[in-house]
């Protein structure tokens, strides 16, 4: 009996400590300036909602705000898939007055990324939608997040929340110039074609529809690639057509809109300088108002 009591002691101590540590980490993340912490803490009200994957991070918020005089909120993240973006957009629309505009880079539809969803475990307490998506994408992880609260914080997203505890994440942008070996080697590697997956466009459709229903002016764009790289992308046009078919909205193709090499951090991402050129162009075209 005494031996069994030690087993119970291990189990009890594990759960008590797990819940206390989970609560402490939750308090920390709720105080973070990281975008998703702000989203779920009612601190993200904005005029313009920006959506994308790592390429959506090139929407340089301070410059947009300076040029348009409007507030922005960017929900983009590295490798963000459309199903996750859909949940975040719907959660945003549920919690805040509808933004005036939503700018969405449709290259977010270039892949699925079920693994990234588990990183958003820590927002499950605030969003039943997030739990449903997590359960759908990774059932074990969803169950584990109920079992252990510490496990919810086992992710890069949590680390970023801590990183942005006392500082803004609005200038999260590549600040280097593409190196010469990349420029020279742009034709030297095999390019992957974009996987056009039906379910991804279904999520795009749902997200756009939800925003339009709330009166949001939705603008779909293709953010710039390094021009020589864009020229090698075989089915970017197909992606554009599929996105237009899924939403019934036009997609503005900026894939080769930035020509200057010094505007790029790598083949797929503009740097701060390039981002400003791109934003100027969007304002000139009336995409950003």
């Amino acid at each position: 009996m005494k031996k069994l009591s030690w087993i119970f002691a291990v189990i009890a101590l594990f759960f008590v400590g797990d819940r206390i540590a989970g609560w402490v980490l939750q308090q920390l993340t709720e105080r973070s300036q990281f975008r998703y912490s702000r989203l779920y803490q009612q601190q993200a009200e904005a005029d313009i909602l920006l959506v994308g994957n790592s390429r959506g991070l090139i929407f340089y918020q301070p410059y947009i705000e300076e040029q348009t005089g409007k507030s922005t909120f960017n929900i983009s993240y590295n490798g963000m898939p459309m199903d996750l973006a859909r949940v975040l957009i719907e959660d945003y629309l549920d919690r805040y007055p509808a933004p005036k505009q939503m700018i969405l880079d449709v290259t977010i539809c270039d892949r699925e990324n079920k693994a990234l969803t588990t990183g958003y475990n820590m927002f499950v307490p605030y969003s039943p939608r997030m739990y449903d998506l997590l359960y759908y994408n990774d059932k074990n992880s969803a169950i584990a997040s109920k079992f252990s609260h510490l496990y919810r914080y086992n992710s890069e997203i949590f680390q970023r929340s801590i990183f942005y505890l006392n500082k803004s994440d609005e200038d999260w942008l590549i600040d280097r110039e593409i190196n010469q070996s990349m420029v020279d080697g742009v034709n030297d590697f095999e390019m992957d074609t974009i996987g056009l997956i039906d379910s991804v466009f279904l999520h795009l459709n749902v997200a756009v529809k939800a925003a339009v229903q709330k009166g949001v002016d939705v603008k779909l764009v293709i953010n710039p690639y390094y021009p020589a790289y864009a020229a090698r992308m075989e089915n970017l046009k197909d992606l554009k057509i599929r996105a237009e078919q899924a939403t019934g909205l036009p997609v503005r193709d900026y894939s080769t809109a930035v020509k200057e090499t010094k505007g790029f951090g790598d083949y797929q991402h503009l740097n701060k300088y390039g981002s400003k050129l791109f934003i100027d162009k969007m304002i000139k075209d009336g995409i950003l108002k």
Binding site: K3, W6, A9, V10, L13, F14, G17, D18, A21, A115, N140, S141, A144, S148, L150, Y151, Y153, N154, E156, Q159, R160, S181
Partner: protein, 522 residues
């Protein structure tokens, strides 16, 4: 079935109650059936291989017991070796030699017409083959008694905790433990559970957390800066250590709960101060197997035999012909001439030279044991060279440090650093998919381009990696200072706290993708 998967937890939850409720033969039969089920979960077709190896070595053992006739005994031993090594050669090395031969022909301008077969490497074949062979050799040498009970013998070969990735447990250590039923003991359960949790921490929290960063580094090294690549190599050294030793810990822990004692397979290898010590701490069951069944029979450090020369020459010829690196012939020739003159100097030098050859042969074959690729052979060559250089230059190094009155702790720290750095260098070849990638990693690190943390990509992986390695090293350092496990064992409160701390660490840092263990491929 892998340890870090839900089916395994279900399997073990069903197995243990049955195991402790059965006695005698029934328990053995359960162990055997469970082991075959465990292995068959991966691919049931290869059960026949284990069964065949088991049958061969069982009957060879019985026959060896019946005859005292030396030539007949030798024939029996050879037949067992041929079958076991034949399986290994076919499943593990056939395609390698065919592909290498094809490349060689192409290099000479001939279009080869041989086709490699779509052979699947049976998981764990290198482990159970060596375990089975050690039994037959020991029976042949009359170092252990023959096992007449087939169920007991088959369970020894296929025992599921260590079947697919070791440790390679010797018959002399393991078979006697089957002689009587192992009793249930709470002390064993807690000790075993502790070791299993520690093993899971190493595998799930350390190895699998480091894996994405390492994979990225070795997939396209040309895209990363110097510091990024260096971190990748350091991370790999811990990934492979924790992946493999984590498996061993889980295996040893499971066996301990079942009432069996396995020897340690790892003893903090990165704290080694010389290469001999490293091999006495790393994959101990393999290095001691190679020592006892290869290095010592070749002459060890007492001298050499014809085989010492022969194996080395075979390696030289094969590498030159099959890789098409003809320039190696010049290096080998120069090496052979140098060795010849070295041996002529005195009997002492003659004996030393044989010792170096035996060391090199052991490490080359050890490298090849890991996998069918020249990169593994080169990895073995590097470790063989380290040991030879250590024996040649070690005294001089010590004299220099003694002359400048270097404090002992600095001496030890320098030695550890040197051994660790050179081990990491060898790991590059072990991990890289080919020599080109290994070269890119080395050149990338050596260039010192972008040697700053700002240029490191995916810093969050680095932060997590440093955190888990920090915990690992902290525990290992504490354990060196005072055997931590003993202290934990003595105080139940301490035991409860340590278990819970590890479980929290696993929950917070673990990667739960049910990633396979690296050593399964060997």
């Amino acid at each position: 079935m892998i340890f870090n998967s839900i089916p395994f937890f279900v399997f073990i939850a069903l197995f243990f109650p049955l195991y402790f409720n059965l006695k005698g033969k029934a328990r053995l039969v359960l162990c055997l059936a469970a082991s075959y089920f465990f292995y068959g979960w991966w691919d049931y077709r290869f059960l026949s291989l284990i069964a065949f190896s088991t049958l061969i070595d069982y009957f060879v053992g019985l026959q060896l017991d019946k005859t005292e006739d030396a030539p007949a005994r030798k024939k029996l031993l050879i037949s067992s070796m041929v079958v076991n090594l034949g399986f290994l050669a076919f499943f593990k090395y056939f395609n390698f030699f065919i592909d290498s031969f094809q490349d060689m022909l192409l290099g000479m301008g001939y279009e080869g017409s041989m086709h490699s077969l779509g052979i699947i490497l049976p998981v764990g074949i290198s482990f159970y083959t060596f375990q089975s062979m050690s039994y037959t050799i020991d029976v042949f040498k009359k170092e252990i008694a023959v096992e007449k009970d087939f169920i007991r013998f088959a369970t020894f070969i296929s025992f599921f905790p260590q079947l697919v990735a070791g440790p390679i447990v010797r018959a002399s250590d393991f078979l006697p433990q089957f002689q009587k039923d192992r009793e249930f003991s709470w002390d064993r359960v807690t000790a075993g559970t502790g070791q299993i949790i520690w093993g899971f921490f190493k595998k799930v929290a350390v190895a699998d957390s480091l894996a994405p960063f390492v994979d990225q580094c070795f997939a396209a090294p040309e895209t990363f800066g110097s510091l990024h690549l260096l971190i990748g190599v350091i991370f790999y050294s811990f990934q492979i250590y924790c992946d493999f030793s984590g498996y061993s810990d889980i295996a040893i822990g499971l066996a301990r709960i079942m009432g069996f004692d396995f020897p340690d397979n790892f003893k903090k290898p990165y704290f080694s101060r010389n290469y001999s010590e490293f091999w006495a701490r790393w994959h101990i069951s393999l290095s001691s197997w190679l020592r006892d069944y290869l290095y010592i029979p070749l002459g060890g450090n007492r001298g050499g035999t014809f085989a010492s020369w022969f194996i080395l020459v075979v390696f030289m010829v094969l590498t030159i012909f099959l890789t098409g690196w003809w320039w190696l012939a010049i290096i080998y020739l120069l090496g052979s001439v140098a060795t010849y003159f070295y041996m002529k100097k005195s009997d002492y030098h003659h004996k030393n030279a044989y010792n170096y050859m035996n060391l090199m042969n052991t490490m080359l074959l050890g490298g090849l044991w890991h996998g069918a690729s020249w990169a593994f052979v080169f990895w073995g060559f590097l470790h063989g060279s380290y040991q030879v250089v250590q024996r040649l230059c070690g005294p001089l190094w010590n004299n220099v440090l003694d002359t400048i009155k270097t404090p002992k702790f600095i001496k030890n720290a320098l030695a550890m650093l040197l051994v660790y750095a050179s081990t990491c260098f060898a790991w590059i070849f072990f991990r890289a998919p080919d020599f080109d990638i290994a070269g890119q990693v080395i050149v990338g690190i050596g260039s010192l381009e972008a040697f700053n943390f700002g240029a490191v990509i995916n810093k969050f992986w680095v932060i997590k990696g440093v955190a888990v390695i920090g915990i690992l090293l902290l525990v290992e350092v504490l354990d060196v200072q005072r055997p931590l496990w003993e202290a934990i064992q003595q105080r139940p409160v301490f035991r409860v706290v340590s278990f819970v701390l590890l479980l929290w660490a696993i929950a917070f840092f673990g990667s739960f993708g049910a990633n396979s263990f690296i050593y399964f491929q060997f």
